[in-house]
């Protein structure tokens, strides 16, 4: 009889201890996420409308924003390219990237490919308003970064 009583009282205490321990372990394992924002802008195309391929006109949005500024939570160590891949997957935006000599080369986003608006047109990305020195696969995201993917038609004019 005494033994049964002890077991009855020990069990809930044991369960509680287990729960607390597991919570502590789970909290420790979870790394802090990074808050970033990303946008995809092809507005410069409207400045060079005469160079745009006819077949692509319907794919350029009126305001040029294929993706408006969106906040995303990413993991530590994610690169700018990972972010692009993730957001395009989530928002169902077409993305075509291939491995180039300097890492991943983004050929086209949202059916807009490099070369569609003049020979020198293509996708470039800015970090917090400035062009990055490295490729998108190399640049690691920091807290509060704004990654903008811009479609450049003429490097001299579009800045």
């Amino acid at each position: 009889m005494m033994k049964n009583n002890v077991c009855k009282r020990a069990l809930p205490v044991l369960l509680a201890v287990c729960m607390v321990l597991s919570l502590m372990v789970a909290c420790k394992k979870q790394q802090p996420g990074i808050q970033c924002s990303v946008e995809i802008d092809c507005g410069y195309i409207w400045d060079h409308e005469e160079d745009l391929l006819e077949s692509k006109v319907e794919f350029v949005p009126q305001d040029g924003m294929i993706l408006a500024e969106t906040e995303v939570t990413v993991e530590q160590g994610d690169t700018a390219f990972d972010l692009l891949e993730e957001i395009c997957d989530e928002q169902d935006i077409h993305l075509d990237a291939e491995d180039g000599s300097w890492g991943k080369y983004v050929k086209g986003i949202g059916q807009i490919y490099g070369g569609d608006c003049g020979e020198m047109s293509g996708w470039m990305f800015k970090v917090n308003g400035e062009y990055a020195d490295v490729g998108s696969e190399v640049y690691e995201l920091a807290e509060g970064d704004l990654i903008s993917w811009i479609f450049i038609c003429d490097y001299e004019i579009d800045q």
Partner: protein, 251 residues
């Protein structure tokens, strides 16, 4: 059918794989298009538009392969050379001699080796040096024969009057009136089709949406003309067979 089973095997073994290869390669490396089908390991998607364009391109390559195959059957080497000899006699003569070169000399080498075997007997064990000597002797015999053969050829050509005056040659195939009409018709049709193709009446857009050109009556006229062109040999064959049957039944 031109070649029956062999032809079908060529189609399945060469033309069809060429077409399928084009489909696979286009789908693998090009990712434009609004209809994604499945995902590749690299992250890009294989799209319906890319596969369709691959199929059409592959069909074009396969058809070109088949056409060249049929061309090789309908116009074999000797007929081609005959054509050449009518237009450029000197060039076709040189071509004939060049084409004959390898088979003739190979046959002569085999003859020499057999003759030596007959004279000296076949030796089973031969060191490397002996093999080299044997090869060298055969080569020198072949060279002697080649020089003598060429002098013989030159002499016989001179005996037949080559180079002395303008030569006429035996005409196996002659131009008849209906041949000229047929040729002109074909030229006309091909010209029309080429003109239509240039106007872009048949251009289909695959990137990023599959879009057919607007339905113009000239497009359908083009289809009819092309069918006529393709049906010409068929018509000729059927007519010939029918005539043959008729004449046979009259016996």
């Amino acid at each position: 059918m031109l070649r029956g089973k062999v032809g079908i095997r060529f189609f399945m073994g060469v033309a069809l794989p060429v077409c399928l290869l084009s489909v696979v390669l286009n789908g693998w490396f090009h990712h434009y298009g609004v209809t994604p089908l499945f995902r590749l390991p690299g992250g890009n998607r294989v799209t319906l538009e890319a596969l369709c364009q691959g199929a059409v391109l592959g069909g074009m390559f396969g058809a070109a392969t088949l056409w060249l195959y049929c061309f090789g059957i309908v116009l074999p080497q000797d007929k081609l050379l005959y054509l050449g000899s009518q237009c450029m006699p000197a060039l076709s003569l040189v071509l004939t001699m060049a084409l004959r070169f390898v088979p003739t000399y190979t046959a002569q080498t085999a003859k020499i080796i057999r003759a030596r075997q007959g004279m000296l007997g076949k030796s089973t064990e031969q060191k490397f040096r002996q093999k080299m000597r044997h090869g060298g002797t055969v080569l020198s015999i072949l060279t002697t024969w080649a020089l003598e053969n060429s002098i013989q050829t030159a002499d016989s050509m001179r005996a037949r009057g080559y180079g002395a005056a303008k030569r006429s040659s035996y005409r196996r195939y002659r131009w008849h009136a209906k041949d000229i009409i047929c040729a002109l018709c074909i030229l006309l049709i091909v010209g029309m089709l080429a003109g239509l193709a240039i106007t872009g009446a048949w251009n289909v857009q695959y990137d990023p949406v599959i879009r057919f050109p607007e339905a113009m009556p000239i497009r359908y006229a083009g289809y009819v003309i092309y069918t006529v062109l393709c049906a010409m040999p068929l018509y000729m064959d059927i007519r010939r067979a029918w005539k043959w049957q008729r004449y046979l039944s009259k016996i």
